[in-house]
Structure formats: C-alpha cells, structure tokens
Subunit: 639 residues, 2 copies
C-alpha cells in the first residue's frame, strides 16, 4: 500500500511538513495549495526537496468551483486552471484534485458538467496532467460520490477520473459498497479521514474534527476493503483537517498519521480475509503486523521518585509487603496479591513521585514489542545485566513507559527473583501488613493525558495493546471539565483510564501547582476491612464531605449501618443495575495517589458519580498546601 | 430587576463562587446541588455565608426524574424529595427546580404527571417549599414549556409552578410569545442563557456552549420582554454551562455575567418602549443606562515601550510627523492626517513595544465613561495636571485601556495642545515625511485576545462602545487556526478586529516567543505612492513570497503592470464585488506592527484571504530571529 498525506494535516511551514512526512516514512504527499502560496520556496525548490527526501508529490489540491458555470465563468476558470497546470509542471506534478462546485455553479445538469470537464481534460492533457474530480459533501449540485462518478463517466476523457474521500462519503451516510462498481483505473486518488460521531453541520465537522483512521467512529477497514476489492492499487492518502493537529508538533502528528495507516492496512487485511476468504488476492498489497491477543493483566506499575519515604509509608499502610531491593539497581518491589509496585529511585533527581511505567501481561512479549515498534512506537532503552530478564518496552504518547511482560497462568513474574528480600522482614515499610493480602490485583490505572495528544493515545493503546475504548465521560471539577476515556480489555483484566485535564488558565488547583495527579487503583475483596486496617496503620485518607453522604442516602436509601461505616471511613459508594462499588482514595504524594476498590456483583464502572467529589477534595487540599499566592499557571506547562 | 446566577456558571469551590457573585453585585444565587455535595461546608455554614454576603439563596437545583413513573418509583422519588426538602430547610431555602423526566418516566399522560406533581406539592408544602417545574428540551415526554405549563395548570397546587429557561425554549425553536399567556404568579423562576447558533445535538449544545446574554445569537431582549409584559417580577437568573467559564477566574466570570444582565435589562427596556410605547408600565423595574451613540472614529492609539527608537523610525518612514513631547510626561505624539499615535515611555521598564490604549471619539465622554463603569468596567486611574484634559477610560478584558474622547466635527483633539513641538522640526523621527499626508486616519486596530475571554470581549465592546460584531472568520497559520472577530460601527468609522490566537502548545512561532503580535492599520489615499516613499525612507516591509503573486494572477487576471508593482513593493491585493483592497505590512517591533491599506470603491473587508500569507511570513521571521532552540512555549504564558 502506497502511503500519502496532505500537507494541511500538519503544523509548520511546507518545508517542516515535508521533513516530518519523510521522517514518519510516508511514500508521498499531497501539496495543499495554501501551504505553497505562503512559502518563500519556489516550486523548483520544493520539487528538489521532495526528491532529496524521497517523497513523491502525489496530488496538487484543491482546485475549486470549476464546472456547471456559464461561458464567461468557464473561460475564467480555464485561465485559472492553466496557470495552475504551469505551476504543477514546475513542481513536476501530474495529478490535480478538483472539488465539486460549491460557489459558482448555476447549471445543474450532468451533461454541462461533463462537457466542461472534458474541456478541462483537453487542457490538462497538454500539460500531461490528470484531474481527480471529487464530490464534496456540501457541493452545490454534486455531493454524492456516485454522482461525481456518473459525470466522470459521461465526460469519458482519459485525463478525467474521480477522487474518493471517506469523509465526504461516510458523513452523508452514503453506502461505500458502490465504490466497487467504479472501474479501478478511473479512481485516480483516495483520501481517508475518520471522524468522531458528531451531530453538527457537515462543513464544521469536516473542517475541524477529522481525525486519523482508528481515532474516530467509522469502519474504515470496510471502506478501504471496497477499494481493494474493486482493484484500486494507487496511493492511500490522509486528508485531516483538525484544529489540534494544526497546533501540535508536526513530527509527532506525522508519526501518529503513519501509525493509523499501518494499523488500517492490517485491519483491512483481516476484514478482507474474513469476508473473501484467505485465498483472495488483490492488486493492492496490505502489509500485516505480528498479531497479538489482549493483555491478561497488569504485570506491574512503576512509580519514580527521588524521595520514596512517603510512598513506602502509604504502601505499607495499604497492606503491601516490601519484597526487597533490586540486586543491581536502586529499585524497590512492593507486592500484595498479584499487585506489584516498583519504586524506582534511579535518575529521579528532584523528581516528585509520578507514575513512570506500566507492565502488561502478554502472551509473547517479543512479538508484542515488535508489533509496537512496527507501529512506530519508540522503544525504551533499558539497561540490564547479563543474567536479568530483558523487558521490552515502548513510550506511550504521554511518555509513560509501556512494558510487555510474560504473562503466566498463576500470575507470577520471573523478574521478581532479581529482588532480594530484606534480612529483617520487620524493616521499615512493612508496617500495616498483618500478613493477610486483601488486595488481589491492580484494578485500573488512571493516567493524565496532554489534551493535544488524546486521539494519538487512544490509537496507540488500541493498536499496540489491543485495548478497546469505552464511551467517554466528562467530570466537573472546580477548575473545569475533565474528560475521561477508559481503554480496556473485553474481560476487564486491564483497564486504563485516560484523563484529559482542562487546560487551566486562571484557576490555581491540583493541575496547576504540580502535575495533574494520576493514580493506581487496587482491587480488594473486603474494602471495609482493608480501610479499618489502614486507619489503624495511620493512613491519610482523602476526606469526603458530610454533604456527600446525605445525598447518598437520599439517592440509594442505604442501610443506616452501611452509611455510617462509609462516612466513618471516608468510603465512597456507587450502584448500578449489575452491582455495587465501594472505594476510597489516599492523599496524594507528588503527583500520585492510590485508590482501593471493591466490586460487588457485576458492577463494571469506576464510580464516575463520585469523581467530582474526589476532584473537589483534591482541589481544596492543593489550595491549602499553597502559600495563598494565586499563581496563573496551567497543567500544560507542567508536562 | 432582581438578579441571580447559578453556581454552576463559575469555577472554584462553592465558597469561592459565592464570594465572586457577591463582589459582582448579584442579588441572589441558585445553588447547584453538585457544588454543595462536594463542599466541606455544612448547609448551615452556607446559609450563614450567604447572609453575611447579602446573597439570597433563590433556587435549589436540579431535582430530576420525578414524574410519570410507576408506584414503586414514585415512592422512591418522594423519599428522595423529602431528603432534599430537609436539606433545603437547613439552607433556609424555599424554591426547588424540578426538571422534566429524562430517564425514568414510563407514563406519558399529563394526568399522571399532574397527579404526581400534586403529591410532591403536598409534601413540599409541609416544608414551606415551592416547586418550579421546567421542561428540558430533551425531556422524555415533556420538552416544551407550554406542555410543562399545562401539567402545572392541571396539578393546580399552590406549591407547584413553572420555571422558564430560555435555552430550553429557544434551542427547540418554540415561540416565546406563549410565555405571556402563563399567569405571572405561576412562573416561579426564570433562567436565561444565550448560545451561539450551532447545529449540533441540543444536549451537547446546552452542556458546553451556553454563553451569557449578548454573547450568543438569540434575541433575549424579546424573550425577557414577554416575561415583563406578562407581569413577571421575580428573579432573572443565569444558568450557563460553558467549558471555558468553568476554567476561568470566577470573579471575572461573575462580573461578565452581571454585565450581561445589566445590558439585557437596558435592551429589554428599549425593546418594550419600541413595541408598547413609552407610557407602558410593568411590575418589573428595568434599570437603564446612559445611552450613547456609536463612536465616530479613533481618537488615538497608544503604544507603550521602554525603547522607542525603532517605533519612531517606523512611523517616520510611514510619513508620520513628530508633534513633540508632552509638557509633563514622557510621552510623544506622532500624527498623519487624523491618525494619532502616542508613544508612551512611562512605566515601561523592560517593556517591548505593545499596544496599550485606544482612544475613541464619542459625543459625550463623561456619559460614555459613566455607562461603561455602570457596566462593571474597571476605570483606568489616570493622573493629570490641573490644566490638562482629563481622559476617561476603562480597561478592556484584555487589559487594553479604552478611552472615551471628545469627538469633533473637524477631527481635531484638544489634548494635542499639551504636546510641545520640537524646536528643530528636522529632528530625528521626521525622516520620510515630505509634508504630504497620504494617511488619512486609523482604518482598524487588531488586538489579540486571550481565548478564554473572547465572549467577554465581544460583550464588552458591544455594551460599552456600541460596536456590533461582524461574522467571524478563521485564518490558518503555521501554528494553528486564528479566529478573527471584527467589532465595528455601522459606518465603518471604527473597526476593531479581535484575534484569538491558537493556544500554541508545541510549535514555536510568533505567538510563543513574544506576545502574539497586534497591529494598527492606517487608511491611505494612494498606497503605491506611500509605499514608494517608505521604500525610499528605508522602511522594512514584510516580505511576500513570489508564489502568492502567481496565485493572485491566476485568480484575478490582473493588469501585468499592477501585478509587477504589487510584487515589487510587497503589496497584497484583494477584490470583492464592491471594490478593491491594497495593503502592506511593516516588520514587527516588539509585539506591534503596522499595516497601511487603501480601499478602492466599496470594499468593506480586511483582506482576509491574505492573512495566512502574513501569518506565515511572520512565523518565518520569528523562527529566524530565534537562536534555533525549539522551546515549548505558549501564547497564554505571555499574557
């Protein structure tokens, strides 16, 4: 599959965009006219740069408002087209995108449009240029790809073909199956865009909210499947108008884009095998990746810190056991049930405690890591001694290190042998652990995401770890709405909540003075018992206001004894049609806190109605810990 | 008119919100339940704080999903209601909002709903509480205010009335005239929200995009007019769910909110006088402000800087005349035609040149300033000597100082007498001025706005200066889309372009290294002559790429001689059905640059198609002026 991308997807100058596309591994690019117009580089310089970078210049776009016009306008339009053909000759380009007329068309009959396209084809032929005619979803007379194709068919000119853009087809709800009826050689170009399912006017949706394949709601594997089955073998290009990508680093965005196409090629290949059988062959080659099943659990979570004292105390109070230090590294291991927490003191100078890495149990770590790297994830350089287990890892978009660990039937991990138990097991840090493990495993991990890389994060976890996105929610906090997106396995063994904090401008709060807090939630079998033990061990709980309990009672008519226990222990409660959820939060250390949860029955959520209570309590704590100066600071600045 | 506001409009804790509402001058507040639940303050403490701040607690909200349910659910709902009534008693509150059932209603007939409301009314009466029943636009069975009123009428209970919310009525396109048919004493509460005209699902529109009256697209003066004419005299409250307000400083937002109500009261009063005649009287009193006509021009623009050398050179090269220094202050005056630029060196230590103040010609400066202050604008403290003209000014939301100056028929300004002409008129700074004033006046001024105060800015300029918003546009730049909103007088004598820069996160650019550049555009009668004179004087023009001119030719088929002149002088060109527009930009000094424009015929725009060319050129310049370090910095950080 030849890959291409429109320069309008990226930020920066045309030169910067081209360098980014080359670095991400694209075969070619579409030159978006605006990017050329504002560039001081001459067409010849752009042509030379493309050659130097190994990028083909696939499509010049857009040419607008040509067909369906009166004679005078037609003459003007042909004049305008010829000027662009001369420019394309300087660029060494031979394919131009023509969008269906939005503004100047007055004649709606196909015969006129086809006749005018034929004239354009004649002119283009003189310059060795071909025209790809595309139906915009909001075209004046032509807004349906099958209609555009009928006009191309009617024009019947070797230099006139069609361009198919998934946005213009799927946003209108047209059935893409019709693509297979168009002769492949008349499909001159293909552009793919995904989009979230928004109910808004199509033009705004298109201009601001497009995302890369896999980051939206559309089945683009099926869409591309129709093209492949129909025999299309030309470039598959991305044309994504997105307000956020326009502001983000262009190299990152280009890598994200490339990942989306690699992933889509695989998905399309799988889709075609499922529908057409494994023997089917097509002109387009779809490279596939090493297949990996879902992870089966969290292997470990790593917190990095210079000063680990408070963390050790917290874990001890929660009932964790100190399993010792690593043989060669300044790293501690704490466990309870199958939950393993690594405290990493290496290269942590001046670092407040923060979640640095997550390990996932997978069937085949080498294969999983190889897949991730083929998906353009950056490998984590990890030094290890000769006799140590080598952990394979990559960086997630928020720089969290993601490790692929060997899953085992009994939930053990071989690497834990590298940790030496302390001589004196009553050493500091084991306080609170009476020997009974109430925590069974990590229930979920909540990571803060920079808002401008949210879509990238979703695709990253879906493509590399086979996690699926749940419907997202929004939680009010005193400093703004927090968007929460859970990525999980089907069985819930791995649940990752990605929180996008509001971009705080003016309100001081938890997200402004320190990094936005993240947390690790542990599953336990008896929350009340664990909480009582933690109280006895001196754990600092996040304090829950009395008003919350009054409302809880009004909503759920709880047994008064249970309500009293909840309030006494600062426990939170939720209930749905499947079961009950009890949980509590610890105080925050650095940018990390812990949660302990008990799921009763089939409760499958995360206590979302309680999240505002937590955020408000953390806001108040952060406020109190400040010296009263209301600094203007933002979450983003702390990343 | 009694003013009120829902606590959900503001950021912060409940206490912070209440303090902000009191400071902004609201009479009362609606307690949004969530704000109370997450607060550590007891109901009694909240009640005491409200009393201390002089705020009435007008409405407890929301109570949801009560009516149209089966017997079991009804019992649960009454239990839940009674718990809230007890809470309200602690708060000393007597009015609760009931939203039409969204989730649990199974019985859609009005009789059932009315009967169940009657039961609720009986229960409420025992606590001295009244219920205001409101139709949500997305209610299961009840989503129309007239339907909600029919049920209230059917319930026929003294403790059951209705609540009217402009959002739920206008978003569905219901005709608000029906409000006048509802007996005023049965309208227990009124909530107002404005909204931009978006075509999206109503729930998302409501939850994220509401704005204060005057900041959206709706005729809320007519809406409130129906209430006033119908005899309503209760509180007029604001309930605005807005993602940006949730993040912004609550004191600012509260002031913005109060301004919107003051302005709305005036507009409603004017509207009623126009429709019902000046003699009409109503139970609700609508305070009015001193009326002011549109400004008739820019009186001056002030640039502040520590080092004024480059500014002086630029103005001289543009043909401005140095009119001398102020008698007592470190301030210079430069003029050309009716354009006056003040260069202020006072209190400018370490300050790069930036636009600091704008003076507007108005009919009655004292009246205009009084109006602005009554609209909660903060006055600028201005020191002046005994014999000097006292300028009345207020701060705009972006901290630009806005002065109300005495307009004159001949375009002169009395305060210029305070500037002493230099002894030697050939002194530095007059270079380039050959004595012929080609500039006639300030054409427009372009101010960068912090994105989180954009709505506030629009209302500020509309309410205090009688400027009207034009349709907004979006301009692509290498670091993201720039939104541009022109505020202007009907005759175009005053035009102010508010630019909202992208919140740059990762791309270094003009907006990250220094403050986002702003500019002053001068109108002239002969741009080519002025440009040639400026070239001769050594002016540094913003360089326009050759690719731009090739495209210009393709689009407009310009006379080759004109095209050559444009390209030679770095002039930009635009044309519409009314006329032509020629303009150029200077290099940027600090965060200021200048533009000179020539309007030919009836051209009424600002050369928007050329703005991307300007932004890209400025981006490249800023890039070159940096030392190559790609810092992660943002526009917001520089405010």
């Amino acid at each position: 599959m030849r890959t291409s991308i429109a320069t309008v997807c990226l930020s920066g100058t045309l030169e910067e965009k081209m360098h980014a596309c080359a670095r991400a591994g694209f075969d070619g690019i579409e030159i978006f006219e605006q990017d050329l117009l504002v560039s001081p580089q001459s067409p010849a310089q752009i042509r030379a740069l493309a050659a130097e970078l190994g990028l083909s210049l696939d499509l010049y776009q857009p040419f607008r408002d040509f067909e369906g016009v009166d004679e005078q306008q037609l003459a003007d339009n042909l004049y305008r087209a010829e000027a662009k053909f001369m420019l394309m000759r300087e660029l060494g380009m031979d394919l131009m995108l023509l969008c269906s007329n939005v503004a100047t068309a007055t004649l709606g009959d196909d015969g006129t449009a086809a006749a005018q396209l034929r004239l354009l084809g004649d002119l283009a032929a003189r310059y060795g240029i071909r025209i790809a005619y595309e139906a915009l979803a909001w075209g004046r007379f032509v807004n349906d790809f099958e209609h555009a194709w009928r006009i191309v068919e009617l024009a019947d000119h070797p230099n006139i073909g069609t361009c198919l853009d998934s946005f213009h087809i799927l946003s209108r709800g047209w059935d893409p199956a019709g693509i297979e009826k168009i002769p492949a050689e008349k499909i001159f170009f293909v552009q793919l865009a995904d989009a979230p399912q928004l109910s808004m006017d199509i033009l705004s949706w298109s201009r601001h909210y497009r995302v890369f394949p896999g980051e939206g709601a559309w089945a683009l594997d099926q869409f591309l499947g129709h093209l492949v089955r129909g025999g299309y073998a030309g470039p598959v290009s991305l044309e994504i108008f997105n307000d956020v990508f326009r502001q983000a680093d262009e190299v990152r965005t280009a890598v994200d884009a490339m990942r989306s196409l690699i992933w889509l090629a695989e998905r399309t290949s799988v889709h075609l095998q499922e529908t057409d059988g494994p023997q089917a062959r097509y002109p387009m080659e779809l490279a596939t990746l090493p297949q990996v099943p879902e992870p089966t659990g969290f292997n470990f979570a790593e917190v990095k810190a210079e000063d680990t004292g408070q963390l050790q105390t917290l874990l001890g109070q929660l009932g964790f056991t100190f399993q010792g230090r690593h043989r060669t590294k300044a790293v501690q291991l704490w466990t309870q049930g199958r939950a393993r927490i690594i405290i990493n003191e290496q290269q942590a100078r001046n670092q407040e405690p923060a979640i640095a890495a997550l390990g996932f149990d997978v069937a085949d770590p080498v294969r999983a890591a190889s897949r991730a790297v083929q998906l353009k994830a950056e490998p984590v350089p990890r030094q290890s001694q000769a006799d140590e287990e080598v952990l394979q890892g990559v960086y997630a978009p928020d720089t969290t290190e993601v490790f692929f660990c060997q899953g085992t039937g009994d939930g053990t991990a071989a690497w834990t042998r590298e940790f030496a138990r302390p001589q004196d097991s009553s050493a500091a840090g084991t306080a609170g652990n009476t020997g009974l493990d109430l925590v069974t495993q990590v229930d979920h991990v909540n990571l803060a995401q920079p808002w401008q890389h949210f879509d990238e994060s979703v695709l990253f976890y879906e493509s590399t770890l086979a996690l699926a996105p749940s419907p997202s929610t929004e939680v009010p906090s005193p400093v703004g709405l927090v968007r929460s997106q859970v990525m999980r396995t089907h069985d819930g063994a791995v649940r990752l909540a990605l929180n996008i904090a509001p971009l705080v401008m003016e309100k001081p709060g938890p997200s402004s003075e320190s990094a936005y807090p993240q947390h690790i939630a542990f599953a336990c079998t008896d929350l009340v018992a664990l909480a009582r033990r933690a109280v006895a061990a001196g754990l600092e709980f996040l304090q829950i206001p009395a008003n919350y309990y009054a409302d809880l009672q009004a909503r759920f008519r709880l047994d008064p004894a249970l309500l009293a226990t909840l309030q006494e222990l600062n426990l939170l409660y939720d209930r749905d049609e499947h079961g009950e959820f009890l949980h509590f939060y610890t105080a925050t250390v650095g940018s990390v806190f812990f949660e302990v949860v008990e799921r009763r029955g089939g409760y499958n959520g995360y206590g979302a109605p309680n999240a505002p209570v937590r955020l408000a309590a953390q806001y108040l704590l952060a406020q109190r810990s400040r010296d009263g100066s209301a600094k203007i600071a933002g979450y983003a600045r702390n990343r």
